[in-house]
């Protein structure tokens, strides 16, 4: 393709397209909502355009960052993408990369989740960029997101710094017509210039590198090309201006237009929230008496304006937390511009909470865990299986890998009294285990903690859209990798009890859990590891490979609700007319697990061949 063509792209696809068009030769990522679709788009567009690009799903964000960084150190353009909390994991290499700098452009895409919708915090990565002294661009739409990738890479190369692009959920998951153009083909072979004072800077050199970093940031703050863009007013609101960035700028603009105020009040879009343009800060000080700042999610622009007249997140005119939807922005504008209040219909709330899919192997595993150990403590982790909390089989969910270390900590806390300790069962998914579970397990085994670790191995990263894990042996580009096996890792930890089983066979799985508990409590016991293997049912092949039972509920059903409340398969519901449970044939996958759940034996399964 040589000329520009309009295509409907999701924000994450636009970012992926931007990466390919800008001549990036390496893209690495770890999946996490709302950033997951970026790398898949990179792979698709690279294939489509014949771009020479290496892409990988790394085991975690820190690894992804370091792999991409090295490509940049060889003078080649690189991209790393992750969700905002992924940047916490990658913060170590990120902070130092600001000091040491880069060669080939390095764009760091950190996708924020104001709200939050799918995250454990609503932290603002722009703040992280400011903390690291790394410039950050803040797109307001998929189209801008794509353009900003190229701008970030140019800026990165000009100043020898990593540059962040920070989209938010509403940009990542928006769809829009986006112009797609030809690729920049840079043809830069890898060339690493040894420079130990820089690439292995010891503390003596760090001070001067810090000075260089400060100089670079000063220069960027003075450069006019990333200064906020003004849609000038006509003097109707003298001395007032509205400053916005990201998708909050888009929603504010839509309101101003609808109110007939676009072009009447001075309205700035901040495309680079850090470092905020120096001249702009000065102009705001001398030209305006009333200043409103609308930004997500923390007051990054506000803090740099450092002016008591500024209204926004810190003054309280804008709510201090939460997403800035049009419905949140509207009353802020009404108050600031002294407009009459609009009467708005109020949300009724409600709605269905998410639940594990019908037939999901995790449900069987969780049911077994909580039934086998009624007084147990169940630390868990991040993935589809966090939904085990609906079943009462997940007591904690903190951050990637934390469940295992928390289990060790819980054990020590209870063991400190010298008395009985409760059975502690940590659950973690296969992808999360690779991400951050491995060091936690090694630590727990070494320190002789006593708990059961259940690794829920469904052969994929299900929650974020089924990215392959290292065990699957298939890379992001669909090529064969050298598989790394979970049982091998567990054996290497030295754990004394390792068993694999399919949780679908509930009675056997519960027996296995009880013997694991006995091991934990035996004199020479320690961490017992159970690998619960059942493939994710959204994998069509896996689903076709398992037997399908034809299910029925007999008259013996007393309507006790045990299977609904404690097992929660979405295919089961209570028929209010006869007070018995019914199975929704459209949702039931015929896994047969609920047979073992009904205390009355009222659920029956007959074997049926696949048609």
């Amino acid at each position: 393709m040589t000329k520009t063509q309009q295509r409907i792209l999701m924000g994450n696809e636009a970012l992926g397209r931007g990466i390919v068009e800008a001549g990036v030769t390496m893209a690495a990522s770890y999946p996490g909502t709302p950033a997951s679709e970026i790398l898949a788009a990179v792979v698709t567009f690279a294939k489509e355009t014949g771009a020479d690009l290496y892409a990988e799903w790394s085991v975690n964000e820190k690894v992804a960052f370091e792999v991409a960084l090295a490509n940049s150190m060889c003078g080649r353009r690189s991209a790393v993408s992750m969700k905002q909390v992924g940047l916490n994991v990658a913060s170590d290499p990120f902070m130092r990369a600001a000091y040491l700098g880069v060669k080939g452009g390095l764009v760091v895409i950190a996708a924020d989740d104001p709200g939050p919708h799918s995250s454990q915090t609503e932290q603002d990565s722009r703040f992280f960029a400011m903390f690291a002294k790394v410039p950050v661009l803040d797109p307001s739409s998929p189209r801008e997101a794509k353009d900003m990738v190229a701008q970030a890479l140019e800026l990165s190369e000009r100043y020898g710094l990593p540059v962040m692009v920070r989209p938010t959920t509403r940009v990542c998951h928006a769809r829009q017509n986006v112009p797609c153009g030809p690729l920049l083909r840079l043809n830069r072979p890898a060339r690493f210039d040894k420079d130990p004072r820089r690439w292995c800077a010891t503390p003596v050199f760090v001070l001067s590198l810090h000075r260089e970093l400060n100089d670079k940031i000063d220069k960027i703050a003075g450069a006019p090309e990333f200064a906020p863009q003004l849609t000038a007013g006509d003097g109707s609101y003298p001395g007032a201006c509205v400053i916005a960035s990201g998708v909050a700028f888009a929603h504010t603009g839509d309101w101003l237009e609808e109110l007939g105020l676009l072009g009447r009040v001075d309205f700035f879009q901040v495309t680079m929230p850090y470092p905020l343009n120096r001249d702009f800060i000065h102009q705001v000080k001398i030209r305006y008496q009333q200043v409103l700042v609308i930004e997500e999610t923390y007051p990054v622009i506000e803090l740099q304006l450092a002016d008591a007249r500024v209204q926004g997140r810190t003054s309280g005119l804008v709510p201090r937390e939460g997403e800035l939807t049009p419905d949140v922005i509207r009353p802020v504008l009404e108050s600031f511009l002294k407009l009459p209040a609009r009467v708005v219909p109020v949300p009724a709330g409600g709605g269905d909470r998410p639940t594990l899919c019908a037939g999901c192997g995790h449900r069987a595993a969780f049911y077994a865990i909580k039934t086998a150990f009624p007084g147990g403590i169940f630390p868990s982790d991040i993935g589809c299986y966090t939904l085990g909390l609906n079943l009462g089989a997940v007591d904690t969910c903190h951050c990637m890998g934390a469940g295992i270390s928390q289990a060790a900590g819980f054990y020590r806390a209870y063991a400190a009294g010298g008395g009985e300790f409760p059975t502690i069962v940590a659950t973690i998914g296969d992808s999360t285990f690779f991400h951050a579970g491995v060091p936690a397990l090694f630590n727990a085994v070494f320190h002789q903690a006593r708990f059961i670790l259940v690794i829920l191995d469904n052969a994929t990263t299900a929650m974020t859209g089924h990215q392959p894990t290292p065990q699957a042996g298939c890379t992001a580009t669909g090529e064969a990798g050298h598989p790394v096996f979970i049982p091998d890792l567990v054996r290497a930890s030295g754990a004394g009890f390792i068993k694999e089983a399919d949780p679908y066979d509930l009675p056997a799985f519960m027996d296995l859990l009880r013997s694991a508990d006995a091991y934990c409590r035996s004199p020479a016991g320690g961490v017992a590891v159970v690998i619960a293997k059942h493939p994710c049912l959204l994998d069509r092949e896996a689903r076709q490979g398992q037997p399908v039972y034809s299910m029925a509920v007999t008259e013996a059903c007393t309507g006790c609700r045990h299977c609904l409340d404690d097992f929660e398969c979405p295919a089961l519901s209570l028929d209010e007319t006869d007070g018995r449970v019914v199975i929704d044939g459209g949702r039931c996958v015929g896994c047969g697990v609920c047979v073992h759940v009904c205390p009355e034996g009222a659920i029956t399964a007959a074997k049926e061949g696949r048609p």
Partner: protein
Amino acid sequence: MKQQIIVSGLGGQGALTLTRLLAEAAAAAGLPVITSETHGMAQRGGTVISMIKVGPFRGPLIPAGEADRGLFLHLKNLAVHRFYLREDAAVFINTALSGDYLSVDARSLAAAHGLPPVAANLILLGFAAGKGGLFAGPDLLAEMIAAKTPERFREASLKAFQAGLAAAA
């Protein structure tokens, strides 16, 4: 031309497919479009909503009380997402129950046509298009389905759309 549409359903019911098709139809008709979707945890059977804004909009979200059209894949979502609709909005719902909206029993229709339950989404789309309720006509939407659906689902998808159209007649 400005039209703001919400598509409300439960994760797994195919709200994203409808969102994508409507966005493609807008682009094919030469109209600017921006949409918003639900991804992540809520996709596991939770309540989800998509928004499609056709016309010169900047942001992807529809404010409360501003949606011109509502496509509901499940009746129980009406109570949850009604507040997005204008008072005079046209509302299309997949349900066997009638009310102050246009209804089509898409699930039974799917079964009657030998289609899987998830085909209800395209039946609902066909129904809404057949009622003349969308910025894009049936022909353009059918063309989009043919062009944007993977080969192995194409025939069933078109069949579902046509069944919805017929139900609107």
